[in-house]
Amino acid sequence: MNADLRGNPTQISIQNPSLFNSIPETSLAGALKGCLGSLDGACIEKLLLHCASALESKDATLAQQVMWVLNNVASLVGDPNQRLTSWFLSALISRASRDCPMPEISFNGRNSIQRRLMTVTELAGYVDLIPWHRFGFCVSNSAILKAIEGYSRVHIIDFSITYCMQWPTLVDALAKRHEGPPLLRITVPSYRPPVPPLLNVSTEEVGMRLANFAKFKNVPFEFNVIVDSSSNTPCEMISKESHSFHLESLLSQFNPSMLKLRDDEALVMNCQNWLRYLPDEAECSTIRETSLRDAFLDLVKDLNPRIVVVVDEDADLGTASLTSRMATCFNYLWIPFDALETSLPKDSSQRMEYEADIGYKIENIIGFEGFQRIERLESGSKLSQRMMKAGFLSIPFDEETLGEVRSLLDEHASGWGMKKEDEMLVLTWKGHNSVYATAWVPNSFEDN
């Protein structure tokens, strides 16, 4: 609205609430019409979608109105819907402030990554709050164990955002291996996407501790970091803008000599919550015709690994349309919020931190576009198609793996379940797909 409207204060009186009922067609009124009484998940979703489309068409009024309504629902200490709404609202505001360009304001408060740094032991507890991460670890380790049978040397190249939390249980299992433990080498890239959970120590320090533990378990161990352009920058200092650059740099190091591959070792590629950070559009990568994601998979295939495990969240959140991302995001991320609600009390700080990290993800998915939107999640079925197209064959999971997952889930709340879906093993919460795990080999694999 323009300034002269503001100049004339006029009282607004809403004559008659039932007026709304007789005009059901307006977007906002219509959205709320079915929600008289309490605002439930479906209503909130509608409101979010309205806000998204308002922002897309730069309708400040409607956007603001919807945000105002959402604000009344939002609560960081409420039920899962309220908490989710709170984070979504935050992301929307972030986007709104960017969509309304005001050069003299560099409101970066929202743009910076979550700065909460955890200790390693805190992170160890973090990944155990709900089986969200542990599921992937369990399935992957079990598949890896099977794939490296008979090898006396194993080399795992680890792409993940959980700083080697996966490996202690593998080390433990290797130590007990019937034929004795192999020599285990773990290589990690020095670049890690600037996303939570963040540690207060370097990757090298983590490697040290892991080496220590391996020593304690009598497992011969080596830890390497792929040095690249980002090696001298702590993770939290890396900005989203340089994300693609760092990835390109990493991929350029991706060859047998830089990775110090050996012929007598079983090569394992472990990708947990990682592929989503590789841009999928060809235009995002300057040098290649294929997208970075496909290029990465080609490189992996060329290295001829014994097994490639890919674990990630089962949702399509990388589409161009804001409104479609909004709906999917809301419905999908309700799952961990609901799981946390069941597992932890309302005022648990661990829970709120976990939720804040999910909030970071929401902010990136909803609040950003282009290079800055680094979270480009792809569902398991799409990923599977991509892998097959890239020349990989899926490896089925055996009964032992299934049994291990079942025992894992038995120790958590009863809403967690597991199911097999095509090539994937999927973790479910109350029947909804949450995390998928898959295992692959190059389809022209030759035994060394």
Binding site: G7, S27, A60, Q114, K176, R209, F216, K240, G359
Partner: protein, 511 residues
């Protein structure tokens, strides 16, 4: 059909698939489709697999109410409930009431199987019926019932009391304890924690004090897999390794000689340990300690090494490399001064956008009120939102620009967008109809919109800070920013708000 009551007529057995709550179809010799599983010999009372019933059996469908009812048989005098009619009859004797115990009938009792009333359940189908009344009751409660029983120690909930009791017996009994004192009920959590815990790190730190000395070729054969140095007599518990190694510092000066003999003696055990299981090896391969890895290494070199030992060469050098790399990296890290800047959403404040973190930020509605009337919200939204401008949008959320000229430009741009389609038809309900339509439609509703948008007051309402109208403006603004910016330092924000230069606070940029 009579309504199901807590009497023995709760189930009906009939051949017709009649109506009413309890309808029954008889399988086996009477109707068309016998269940798939093969016929079991009836001589022995054999226990079938769950859900593979005897095809000759009579299928009984009980109602949900019956299945969940615990005490179906009630004494008319004292209202005491019993699970079985027999028990009620015996009880009735005590009231001097006529009682009758049903005799076990002479003819062969027809086997009964039970189906689950829940249509979506796999046991709803007669071919997957369960053979036991208690079983079907428990199944129904577990799968389709409310979990009323909760374990005290963990968060697990159960619908069946016996399940809950069984769990409570074992909950917390299997516990793992880390040296640091933390308890774990799950092994994988314990292992992961242990691997990274300071307690483990501390104990081996001594062993790696002089990484730079490792140019010695003898050192190259040192094993990265050597276990931490506990003295010979120790228990099989890994945790004792830590306790024991704390003794080491006092011994270290004299140790090399002493260690030599010890190690040589135990070397075979160590070699065996390398191939054996982990926990046993850590206890059996009691290697004397030394303060320097080089001593260690040379001793291993002299022992009759297995093939695996020799292959450790690159392992050790790389480990060393990793360690020296660590020193370098950690120096970098500390110089980069990772101070906890309160920009993030979850700060020590615990504050976030509209959260009720700090004491000075109160929520609009004290603890969440899910039952807010949508119409009330709509009214309010329209009241304050109709005349919004671009700047107001941002101002409403505490983002204010110091120069207003840009604002005017933007706002006129935006108002143009909005005022144009005055009379377009509005789209229906959820349809993500053109918002401009919506807002104009809304305007019609609101009878010409032009309510004055008073930034400060309305803003406060918007954010629900509950700050009174008489407050000091910059205080309000800074409070707003704090609540929006999720933990921005209030004073800094208030001070720098004019120029709104947050670059210095943003770690993403090194300015």
């Amino acid at each position: 059909m009579p309504v199901d009551l807590d009497t023995s007529s709760a189930m009906t057995v009939s051949t017709a698939s009649g109506g009413g709550e309890a309808s029954v179809s008889s399988s086996g010799d009477q109707t068309t489709e016998p269940p798939q599983p093969p016929k079991q010999p009836s001589a022995k009372k054999k226990r079938n697999l769950p859900g593979t019933p005897d095809p000759d059996a009579e299928v009984i469908a009980l109602s949900p109410k019956t299945l969940m009812a615990t005490n179906r048989f009630v004494c008319e005098i004292c209202n005491k409930g019993f699970q079985r009619d027999q028990n009620l009859q015996l009880h009735r004797r005590g009231h001097n009431l006529p009682w009758k115990l049903r005799q076990r009938s002479n003819k062969e009792v027809k086997k009964r199987v039970y189906v689950c009333p829940e249509p979506s359940c796999v046991h709803h189908d007669p071919s997957r019926a369960l053979g036991d009344l208690t079983g079907i009751k428990k199944h129904f409660c577990r799968k389709h019932g409310e979990k009323k029983w909760k374990c005290d120690k963990c968060s697990k909930k159960y619908a069946v009391q016996s399940d809950w009791k069984a769990h409570s017996k074992i909950c917390g009994t299997r516990e793992y304890k880390c040296d640091c004192g933390t308890l774990f009920s799950r092994r994988d959590s314990f292992i992961t924690h242990r691997a990274f815990c300071d307690a483990l790190a501390g104990e081996s730190a001594r062993v790696q004090t002089q990484p730079n000395k490792e140019e010695d070729p003898k050192v190259q054969t040192a094993v990265a897999a050597s276990s931490p140095p506990p003295p010979p007599a120790m228990t099989a518990q890994p945790s004792s390794a830590a306790a024991v190694s704390s003794v080491l510092p006092t011994q270290s000066p004299e140790l090399p000689e002493k260690a030599t003999t010890q190690i040589l003696e135990e070397a075979p055990a160590t070699a065996a340990g390398l191939n054996g299981g982990c926990s046993s090896s850590s206890s059996s391969s009691s290697i004397g300690s030394s303060s320097s890895t080089s001593v260690f290494a040379s001793l291993f070199a002299s022992s009759s090494a297995t093939a695996s030992l020799q292959s450790q060469t690159p392992a050790f050098t790389d480990l060393v490399r990793a360690m020296s790399h660590t020193d370098h990296a950690s120096k970098l890290a500390s110089s980069a001064s990772i101070e906890p800047i309160s920009l993030c959403l979850s700060t020590t404040n615990g504050s976030s956008l509209f959260g009720a973190a700090g004491p000075e930020h109160r929520q609009y509605a004290p603890p969440p009120q899910p039952a807010i009337s949508a119409t009330a919200l709509l009214q309010k939204a329209a009241q304050m939102g109709a005349a919004a401008t671009n700047a107001s949008l941002l101002r409403g959320f505490g983002i204010v620009s110091s120069s207003s000229s840009a604002v005017q430009q933007e706002s006129s741009q935006w108002s143009r967008l909005q005022l144009e389609p005055e009379n377009s038809s509005v789209t229906a309900g959820l349809g993500l109809g053109l918002p401009s339509n919506a807002s104009s439609g809304l305007k019609e509703l609101m009878l010409g919109s032009s309510s004055m948008f008073v930034p400060k007051q309305t803003t406060l309402d918007l954010l629900g800070l509950g700050i009174g109208p008489g407050g000091n403006p910059s205080g309000r603004l800074s409070a707003l920013i704090t609540s929006i910016g999720g933990g921005l330092d209030v004073t800094a924000a208030a001070a720098s708000f004019g120029s709104v230069e947050f670059a210095s606070k943003d770690l993403g940029r090194s300015s």
